[in-house]
Amino acid sequence: MTTEEFKNTVIPYSVKLYPMLFRILRNEEETRDALQELMLRLWNRKDELVNCTNQSAYIVTMARNYSFDLLKKKKPQAMDEKHEYRILNMEADGTDSDTNERYEKVKQVIKDLPEKYRTVIELRDIDGFSFDEIKEMTGYEVANLRVILSRARQKVKEEVEKIYDYDTSGKYARQIL
């Protein structure tokens, strides 16, 4: 595998892997370094990767094992300044003034989901992994994953609707006290 082939087939996975690793590390610099390390590991195993029948599964499995390693080493850490700045300045991009508050509420709802639901919904709706890739990561069958995802999505909707009173036109009116 040449560097160009690696660039075209493996590097694009970073778009999905970055948010996944960021959820563990909560720091942009550390996430970049961790992702670079993961890419180097994949590059060093490029011969195995070429001979592999399911490259996607290979990459995802390696990423999963690597994230488990990170989780073991991880120390409790607050959100880094860059990320915090980005969240706090969401209003600057023209969205509503209470975007930050709603962001935190949805975040809390997802955090409170049962682990199985949370993992699947994060891998699908945030990272954008396919069902086959999520199957490689979690071990759940695709049919089962669809059920878990469906329940998780409905649960998130219900919980957010409990916090905010959305009128029939779809526009939220006020926070339910």
Binding site: T3, P19, L40, R102, D125
Partner: protein, 145 residues
């Protein structure tokens, strides 16, 4: 039921493809009316943030590693080549020196032999021992020194 409602229904059943979800999220985010999905999708979008130029930076890191490895390999080859050259030069030098020494030894041996021969030729013939032959027969010889 509108197309968006249909898609949302499919989304909540976990039956949408990644492309459909991408399209649905974009449509909901762009809609002027808010709603529970707008807040949820907005959260997902923020959480899926990826720094600009990430892929290029990662690729640059890989290329750096490749160049570094090549450089280490080249240095190793250079060291091995230098060692081989030294070994060849040393072998040739020792061989020449050995041959030179052998030649000198041969010359010395030839000279030694010549001197020995000369010395032999200069030596007077040894005088025959005085012997008194008393009896010589087919079977018996009687000699007195």
């Amino acid at each position: 039921m509108t197309h968006q409602e249909n898609m949302l229904d499919k989304y909540y059943r976990g039956e949408t493809s990644l492309e459909e979800e991408k399209e649905l999220k974009a449509t909901v985010s762009e809609s002027k009316t808010g709603g529970v999905e707008k807040d949820i999708f907005s959260f997902y979008e923020k959480e899926a943030f990826v720094p600009e130029g990430l892929e290029d930076d990662l690729f640059a890191g890989i290329e750096k590693q490749v160049v570094k490895k090549k450089s280490i390999r080249m240095r190793l080859y250079s060291a091995v080549s230098a060692a081989a050259v030294v070994l060849i030069v040393l072998t040739v030098f020792l061989d020449v020196r050995n041959k030179k020494q052998t030649k000198l030894e041969d010359q010395f041996f030839v000279m030694e032999q010549a001197l020995f021969q000369m010395s032999e030729s200069l030596q007077p013939e040894p005088e025959p021992d005085d012997m008194l032959v008393l009896w010589v027969d087919d079977d018996v010889e009687i000699i007195i020194n």
